[in-house]
Amino acid sequence: MNRGAGRPNHQRVSAPSQTQVLVTLHINGETQSVAVSSQATLLEALRDGLGLTGTKQGCDKGDCGACTVLARPLDENAARASGSSSRGEPILSCITLAQDAQGLALTTIEGLAGAQGLDSIQRAFADCGALQCGFCQPGMMLSARALLDSNPQPSLPQIQAALSGNLCRCTGYTKIYEAVQVAAGMRMPSHARPVRSEPAPGVDGPRVEVKEIAT
C-alpha cells in the first residue's frame, strides 16, 4: 500500500518491535500470568494469550457487545462499594487494556458452567434455540447472567434494556428474551420439545452436544 509521502509518523506504523509485558489476570477463579504485547486488549489476551476463544471479537471498538465478559474489582471492599453482584458486571474486553484489567476478577463464557454442568442461562438458550450463527451468544449470555444475578425475576422491558448493548444480527431477539425468561423460571420454552432432543435438519447421527454450542 502506498501510504503517501506526507504521512505522519505514527507509532503504530513505525513500530520497531512489540514490547512484551507480563500481566496477571484473574479469570474464572484462576490466577494466570501471561506475556502479551503492551498494545494488547483484554480480548486479545484472552483469545491469543490464553486460548480462551469463547469471547468473540466483533467490531473491536465498543459498539457490538460480542466481547462482553463479567468483571468485578478484585478488592472485595471495592466490589461492595460499586454494588457488584457475585460474578460482576458486564464490560467490553475489546476496549479494556490487558494491563488495566489486572485488578479485576473476570468471568468469561468458559467459566459460566459450574460443577452441576451448564448454567441455567446456557441450557435455556439451547432449549429455546436462542441462537443462529452463535457469534453474539457468549456475550449475550453473560449480560443475561449478570441481569439474573442482580434481578432474578426481570420484566420483559428490563431484559430488553439489560441486553441492549449486545447486538444480534440473526435471531431478531425474540427467542433470546424468551430464553432469559426460561432461565429465570418464568415460563417454558415455546417449543413443544426441547430443541436439543431433535435431530438436526439434514444431518444424520447425533446432534452437536449442547455443551459445545452453548459455550
Binding site: R12, A15, Q39, Q57, K61, G62, A78, L97, G103, S164
Partner: protein, 331 residues
C-alpha cells in the same frame, strides 16, 4: 481488527501521584474507564505511549456525597452508579435520566463521570480508522490543515457529545480540578472551550476530581432530552438540559443548554426575556416550550459533523425542547 499503539500503563496510588506522572511524562494521558480513549487510540487519534490509569485509585474518587450544600460526585463514579443512585434520582432526576441514556449497559458500567465530562469531541471525519482518514485526507483535529465540515474553517467544530454536560451546565455545576500546582474550582460552563481540538481548559497535568452541584438546584424544575437513532449504544445526535425556577406560577429563571452541535455545549442566550411567563396551565407551559424551542432553533446550527441529517436535527430541536419543558413542568 484495530491495533493500539504500544503503551506503558502507569498505576498511581493517589491523585497527587497521578498528576505528578502527567507532569513528568511528556504526552501522558489519563485512562479512566477507557471507553472513549481506547477506541480513539485505536483510530490513531493521539500520539502517546503512556497512560496514567485511574482504576487503582477509584476508591479515592468513587463517591457521591452531600457536603457544604453541594452534591459532590467523584470522577471515578461509573455512569451506571450515577444513573441508579437514590439521592441523585431524588434531587436531580434529569441528571440520572441523562446518565441512564449514555451508550449501552456495558459502557455505562465502564465509563466514568470524569471521563464523560472530559470526553473528546466527535466528528464523522475523525472517529474513523487511520486508513479511512488517510484516504480522505487528514483534518485540523489531527495531522491536517483543513476542516471537512466547514469548508475553509480554521477551527475544528467536532461535536461535544457527552450526555452529562448539558444538564450539569443547566444545573449550574462546578468542577474541581487538581494539578501539581494546586487546585481550582470553576463553573462547568467555563470548563469547555469552543475548539474541537482541545475542547476543555484542562491543563496537561490536571485531573478533574469531582463535579459539584448546588443542592439549591434541586428545587429547579428540570428535564433532559436526547435524540439518538437507536435507544441504546448511540451517541447523541442532539441533547439538552433545561432547568426552570418557578415562583408564584411564573418563570423566575430559566437555563437551556444544548449539546452535540459544536465543540462545546451551548447555553441558549436571551432567555431572560421569558421571565414572568405564566406556567399554571398545560397551554401556558406548551407556549413557553414552543417559544424556548424557537429561540434554541435560531441560535443552534446543526452541522454535518455528526452522521445524522442536519436539516432533520434543526427541525426536531424545537419539538424536543418543547417536550422537555412540558416534562419539566407537568410532571
Amino acid at each position: 481488527m484495530l491495533t493500539l499503539p504500544m503503551l506503558a500503563v502507569h498505576q498511581p496510588k493517589s491523585v497527587d501521584e497521578a498528576v505528578a506522572l502527567l507532569r513528568d511524562i511528556p504526552g501522558a494521558r489519563l485512562l479512566a474507564g477507557g471507553t472513549d480513549i481506547v477506541p480513539n487510540l485505536k483510530y490513531g487519534m493521539y500520539e502517546t505511549g503512556n497512560l496514567v490509569a485511574l482504576r487503582g485509585i477509584s476508591r479515592e474518587l468513587r463517591y457521591i456525597r452531600e457536603e457544604e450544600s453541594e452534591l459532590r460526585i467523584g470522577a471515578m463514579c461509573s455512569v451506571d452508579q450515577l444513573a441508579n443512585h437514590a439521592r441523585v434520582i431524588e434531587l436531580f432526576p434529569s441528571l440520572a435520566d441523562a446518565a441512564s441514556q449514555i451508550a449501552g449497559p456495558q459502557l455505562r458500567r465502564m465509563g466514568t463521570v470524569g471521563g464523560n465530562l472530559c470526553l473528546d469531541t466527535r466528528c464523522v471525519y475523525i472517529n474513523q480508522s487511520h486508513f479511512w482518514r488517510s484516504a480522505l485526507g487528514y483534518c485540523l483535529k489531527k495531522d491536517g490543515t483543513v476542516c471537512h465540515v466547514v469548508k475553509g474553517g480554521q477551527r475544528c467544530v467536532a461535536a461535544a457529545s457527552n450526555d452529562t454536560a448539558p444538564i450539569l451546565v443547566a444545573l449550574g455545576a462546578m468542577v474541581r480540578l487538581v494539578s501539581p500546582r494546586g487546585e481550582r474550582i470553576i463553573p462547568l460552563d467555563d470548563f469547555y472551550i469552543a475548539d474541537g481540538v482541545k475542547n476543555t481548559q484542562l491543563a496537561r497535568d490536571e485531573l478533574l476530581v469531582e463535579a459539584r452541584i448546588p443542592l439549591a438546584a434541586a428545587r429547579l424544575r428540570q428535564a433532559y432530552g436526547k435524540l439518538r437513532l437507536r435507544q441504546a449504544i448511540d451517541f447523541p445526535a442532539l441533547n439538552f438540559g433545561v432547568t426552570i425556577s418557578v415562583e408564584e406560577q411564573k418563570v423566575a429563571a430559566l437555563r437551556l443548554c444544548v449539546g452535540a452541535l459544536a465543540a462545546r455545549p451551548a447555553l441558549v442566550r436571551h432567555v431572560d426575556e421569558l421571565r414572568g411567563r405564566p406556567v399554571s396551565t398545560p397551554e401556558e407551559i406548551r407556549a413557553l416550550g414552543q417559544e424556548l424551542g424557537l429561540r434554541a432553533q435560531r441560535q443552534c446550527k446543526p452541522l454535518t459533523n455528526i452522521g445524522v441529517d442536519p436539516e432533520w436535527r434543526r427541525e426536531i430541536l424545537p419539538v424536543l425542547v418543547r417536550r422537555g419543558v412540558e416534562r419539566a413542568l407537568l410532571s
